[in-house]
Point group: C2
Chain length 255, copies 2
Amino acid sequence: MNKKLKILITNDDGIDSPGLKELAIALNKIADLLVVAPDRQRSAISQAMTIAAPLMPHSLNVAENIVAYAVNGTPVDCVKLGVSSLMKEKPDLICAGINLGPNTSVSVAYSGTVAAAMEGVVQGIPSIAFSLNSFSYNQDFKSAANYAYKILNLLIKEELPKDLLLNVNIPSLAEREIKGIKVTHLSNSKWIDAYQKRIDPFGREYYWFSGEFVNFDNDANSDDNALKNGFVSISPIKVNYYRSEYSSLLEKIFL
Amino acid sequence: MNKKLKILITNDDGIDSPGLKELAIALNKIADLLVVAPDRQRSAISQAMTIAAPLMPHSLNVAENIVAYAVNGTPVDCVKLGVSSLMKEKPDLICAGINLGPNTSVSVAYSGTVAAAMEGVVQGIPSIAFSLNSFSYNQDFKSAANYAYKILNLLIKEELPKDLLLNVNIPSLAEREIKGIKVTHLSNSKWIDAYQKRIDPFGREYYWFSGEFVNFDNDANSDDNALKNGFVSISPIKVNYYRSEYSSLLEKIFL
């Protein structure tokens, strides 16, 4: 990649997220950017897309000299609209994030941030999802954004496969305290679902999701454990749903 | 499976969908059902889940003697809430559909119907997504529902793996015209994204998704071609995002 990189940046926390702003400021040093992000918080929106309503992007600046569009849609909408309609040329890379909260293990299925990167590779564009291991609203994203910049600098020396899809999780630590990078696999973890049942002022029952994320994995090279041990976790992921190993069972049942 | 099957039924077209009703009527002949479905149309909602608002189910009947809950959430919410809170025992099977419109190939990533079945296997419950190859609002789902019943009758003779996830697409044909069942793989197809740009009455630009689904696959055993040729398509699918084959490339770049 010799000429200046073109990067589409998006997220699922919405256009006003500090994680998006810091990622854009950091990557603006090495790339031409377009930011296209949901106009509001869309966490856990997965690969949802808008098919029964129109999208109306409006432009704004997320930081000095960084042009952005806020879109009344999902992260996947932002990638699709950005690549097909808002950018003059196909981007070299899609970067999503920096998400407030980790996206490890089974959470990649629900995360809108990871979904944006999945949509990138569906479009034939190498894509990276960045998430920070903190849920604090006062979180400083600068250390994580610097790490995103370092990761990009290492990646752009390579010819990247078009289906390269990286899920990056960054510890919530000062930069000097981060132990380095680990190439990881998604951990064997799950959400133990629970809903708290409550009663509204009119006597009606309602339920709040209160699931708990439980890590069953002891491998230091799993994403959750790398994070816990102070490493940046980079997991290669893919989107491939066909399960060939059950074909013969089904042929026995149905044919 | 000797005692009477317990099935949780959901969909993404919403509680008032005729496809949901016909599926419930058909499966009620062989199982104890609970229907838990979104209170409105949620097509293309993928594996989105509700984490920042409470869910308020309300009960109703979708057909005579078939109890249902309508939920202000997504198909994944319906599965999570149904299994964890609304059903006394874990169901033996999750069935989603019958969706108005096919869910083949890459569309499995966006479909809320398929997502509900994916959530089922995340919960350790064999799950099936049923979709009909028609977008007509006047569609008769009876023939498709009869086929769903036939498929269930063949399946329940077996001990099903807990991670069995079937994506079933049914041609929009009278039952006698359906050629039979094919066990298929997801076809090599894609959405060529396009957005029609229009101007609203106040001069603002907006965009309608107008992508086109293109099938590049010639294999008669792909889901799209099975459907086209008049067969019910049953594809085994899975949810597994880790891509081990790129680990060494990443270790070369980052470590």
